[in-house]
């Protein structure tokens, strides 16, 4: 089996990593780029397929040269046999449409994969379009919101459980022929019910971590000429989407006034205590009086 997993670099939105300016705009230069967290589930789904059926997992991304690190992260934290970055200036400022054209062309240079996996939405764009649009170019059967996966190699079919409308309450089972395009849901859980699978998993995890130490040996970078796409159809030129403006979401007005108090400041803490005592003091007095008779 040959699996291709799509991934993207996104700003690390975790507390302590992300940085915003005074106007609430993301400061990209000060915020590290990491692998899109949702792509982990796509990688897990590909790894499960690799454990059960063998073969090869290729991980692909489109983006600046710095995305090599994102591919390394995918290889180290989950699994990859080989890494592929499609990258040149012509691809910059692409919307999801132009990205889909680029990625599908990139995938086609890898041959004819049996399954292509994508994650559900990126943490920055949040559109959820890129996976399905890429598949529109590839023209495979598409299964989205996949939470579990089973492949029958002999029959050449894929059976998946998927969330209907992303709702955990409703799960449907679908079956399709291979090759197929799978969008893994964040609820995706790999399942390894035999010792043999777990031992293979352990081997593969060890291998992929070792490979990630020299990941560049397993990395191929391609520009638009390598993947044979017309520059007019990719990057900013190929993007029909126009972002007219970005407005910060206004903060909900606070109903109460807050005063920040440094816990080390004994005087200020005394004031807090005093305020608390006076706030409950009257009630406490009333209660005592009520209990008096």
């Amino acid at each position: 089996m040959h699996m291709v997993v799509l991934t993207k670099g996104v700003p690390d939105f975790r507390e302590g990593q992300v940085s915003f300016d005074e106007d609430g705009h993301l400061e990209r230069g000060k915020t590290p780029t990491v692998m899109n967290p949702n792509d982990r589930f796509a990688l897990e789904a590909a790894l499960q397929t690799r454990v059960r059926h063998g073969g090869r997992v290729s991980v692909m991304s489109m983006g600046p040269p710095g995305y090599k690190e994102v591919l390394r992260e995918a290889m180290e934290t989950v699994y990859a046999d080989d890494l592929h970055l499609v990258s040149d200036r012509e691809m910059a400022a692409a919307d999801t449409w132009a990205t889909a054209i680029t990625l599908s062309a990139g995938i086609e240079t890898l041959g004819e994969p049996d399954v292509v996996f994508a994650g559900f939405k990126t943490a920055d764009g949040e559109t959820g379009h890129t996976g399905p649009q890429t598949n529109w170019c590839l023209d495979m059967p598409l299964v989205t919101h996949v939470i579990s996966l089973d492949i029958d190699e002999a029959e050449g079919t894929l059976r998946a459980k998927r969330l209907v409308e992303g709702d955990i309450e409703e799960i449907e089972t679908v079956e399709t022929e291979l090759p197929a395009f799978v969008v893994a849901d964040p609820e995706f859980e790999p399942s390894y019910r035999t010792a043999g699978e777990r031992l293979t998993l352990k081997d593969l995890r060890e291998e992929t971590r070792a490979r990630a130490e020299n990941y560049e040996e397993h990395l191929t970078v391609r520009d638009h000429a390598d993947i044979n796409v017309d520059p007019d159809y990719i990057g900013l030129d190929g993007s029909p989407t126009i972002v007219s403006s970005v407005d910060p979401i206004p903060k909900a007005p606070a109903e109460r006034e807050a005063t920040m108090v440094d816990p080390e400041d004994t005087g200020a803490m005394q004031d807090v205590l005093g305020a608390m005592q006076s706030a409950v003091g009257d009630d406490a007095g009333d209660a005592a009086a009520a209990g008096g008779d």
Binding site: Y192, A195, R198, L199, K202
Partner: protein, 554 residues
């Protein structure tokens, strides 16, 4: 059965017994799968811990795992002393001769470090056989077909069949109990140990214990410092930590309604220990473990069909006074079990692996150490309550005291005779009365003052790492009445009377005018020692793989 996943050999538990079995299977080229429920081998394991390599043993841990001592152990133990204590009077004997009897070497160990080192080697060697080692997998019972044991059932995986199953799943072995070979019925068959791992820089250890880099000290403690509970204390030097603990007979602990953590504190704060603990006491980890008393529970035939038991699972823990040996016997038994199967198979009679294994335990002298014949002969008399009372009365009388004084020059030598330790009856006489009288009559006063403030139970529990299996408690109370299960409130090492943060709590329920004392259970702080399985009425299992407590030191 053809539908089940199959391995030739299955080893349950990756402690020293399981590791030895797996390595030996691998040496014979037998396909071997090892299943460990902890997040890493050693994360569920606690021992005192000294590991011995006995001269008389057919297999030792460094035979099976070259480089063990350098990589996985802490310090060679070169000094061994016992301290008889009465109040602040102490009489100390050197037991180095006893310690060195039949000993090739003996090292202190911390189980997380030791077992995780073994894990990597076991995985590597068993992987070559087509098997391997998996962590986070809990084997919860035996798989039977037509009444015969054919494999195991698991929480995380589908059932697995095997031609031979080695249960090295510890003192609370679920496989031994499923097979009907072990139970949790009698408190007097078990000891309970609790331990604190204490931080101490190497140079402080060198100064305070007067040991060089490749030396270490072991100290044992007995006498009147444990409220009359039968048992004693220990202190072992590790590389840059100390292991300090107490071990008591479970029946005695229950009878005295003693709190194990307080008995540990009695040791930690005794003035004798001030010279070693100084004024910078930092406790790194609190732990507890049930210990089988091999004199009573070591199985003579530790097998049933394809199932062979090794180590604590088979009761193979020799605790005879100052002789405390468990891990070495587990290693020997594990290797013998695998060897027995390999030989039985080569003779085309694999079904005889069990009887062959039991025979090896006898012919290699293991059984004789675990169940000394002298103890069996004397037990009837020596453990009679009436006899104990008479002996204790004589010992504490002027006549007895005069006798102890008269023996003074020879007592140390007597303590060093291995066969006498093996004969020691499980009564208060050798654990409490005799050491107390020795200290009173011959001891000198300790002038030091302890400045140790032990952690309270809440802080000890708070310092442990848990991955709680929320909504899926692994222990259930079958009978919550105080009569049936109340003993657990004090005896559980992470519970205490009037402490709300432990596993077991006493509650009074008022119903329709009457009051009832009941016990409630919250397994969150559980350290999986198994004490409550013995002293309370429970449905006891281990947590699922990766779940529950995770010891960092062990």
């Amino acid at each position: 059965m053809s539908d089940y996943e199959h391995y030739e050999a299955l080893v349950v538990g990756a402690g020293p017994g399981g590791a030895a079995a797996a390595a030996t299977f691998a040496n014979y080229g037998i396909e071997t799968l090892v299943l460990e429920r902890g997040v890493e081998a050693g994360s569920k394991n606690v021992s005192g811990g000294l590991i011995y390599a006995e001269e008389s043993a057919p297999y030792t841990i460094d035979d099976l795992f070259p480089g063990f001592r350098e990589a996985a152990a802490e310090r060679p133990i070169t000094k061994y002393r016992i301290h008889n204590i009465a109040g602040d009077k102490v009489e100390s004997f050197d037991l180095t001769d006893l310690h060195e009897h039949d000993t090739e070497w003996s090292d202190s160990v911390l189980r997380r470090k030791m077992d995780s080192w073994l894990e990597d080697r076991v995985h590597e060697r068993t992987r070559e056989t087509g098997g391997g080692l998996l962590t986070g997998v809990h084997v919860n019972g035996l798989l039977r077909e037509e009444g015969r044991i054919v494999g195991v059932t698991l929480d995380e995986l589908d059932p697995i069949t095997a031609d031979i199953i080695v249960a090295a799943d510890g003192v609370n072995s679920e496989l031994a109990r499923d097979a009907g070979l072990m139970d949790w019925d009698e408190p007097d068959e078990w000891f309970q140990g609790v331990k604190a791992v204490v931080d101490m820089p190497e140079d402080a250890i060198a100064d305070r214990f007067d040991v060089a880099e490749d030396e270490g000290a072991a100290h044992l403690f007995s006498g009147d410092l444990f409220e009359g509970v039968r048992g004693g204390g220990f202190l072992y030097t590790n590389r840059d930590t100390l292991s300090l603990g107490t071990v008591f007979h479970l029946d005695s602990l229950v009878a005295e309604e003693a709190e194990p953590h307080q008995l540990l504190d009695a040791l930690l704060t005794h003035p004798l220990l001030a010279q070693w603990l100084g004024d910078d006491y930092t406790e790194l980890e609190y732990s507890a473990k049930l210990v089988p008393d091999s004199k009573k529970v070591a199985l003579r035939e530790p097998h049933f069909g394809r199932l062979l038991l090794v180590g604590d699972a088979a009761g193979q823990m020799q605790a005879q006074g100052p002789i405390i040996k468990g891990m070495n016997h587990a290693v020997t038994a594990g290797a013998l079990a695998a060897e027995a199967y390999a030989q039985a198979k080569s003779r085309n009679e694999p079904e005889k692996a069990g009887t062959r294994y039991a025979r090896k335990l006898r012919s290699e002298g293991v059984m004789k150490k675990l169940r000394p014949r002298g103890y069996e002969l004397l037990r009837g008399v020596a453990e009679d309550d009436g006899v104990t009372d008479v002996v204790d009365t004589v010992l504490t009388s002027p006549v007895g005291r005069a006798g102890i004084r008269a023996l003074s020059g020879r007592l140390e030598r007597l303590y060093n005779v291995p066969t006498l330790s093996a004969l020691m009856p499980d009564t208060r006489t050798p654990y409490v009365t005799l050491p107390t009288v020795i200290a009173e009559e011959l001891g000198t006063r300790v002038r030091d003052q302890s400045s140790v403030t032990p952690l309270d139970l809440e802080a000890r529990i708070g310092g442990l790492t848990y991955d709680t299996d929320i909504g899926n408690p692994h222990i259930a109370l079958r009978d919550e009445s105080y009569e049936a299960s109340g003993a657990a409130v004090a005896a559980c090492p992470v519970s205490a009377v009037d402490f709300g943060g432990g596993c077991y709590r006493e509650e009074v329920v008022r119903t329709n005018g009457s009051e009832e004392r009941v016990v409630s259970l919250d397994t969150q702080p559980c350290v999986e020692c198994g004490t409550c399985a013995v002293v309370a009425d429970t449905e006891w299992t281990h947590p699922r793989g990766d779940k529950g407590v995770e010891f960092k030191w062990g």
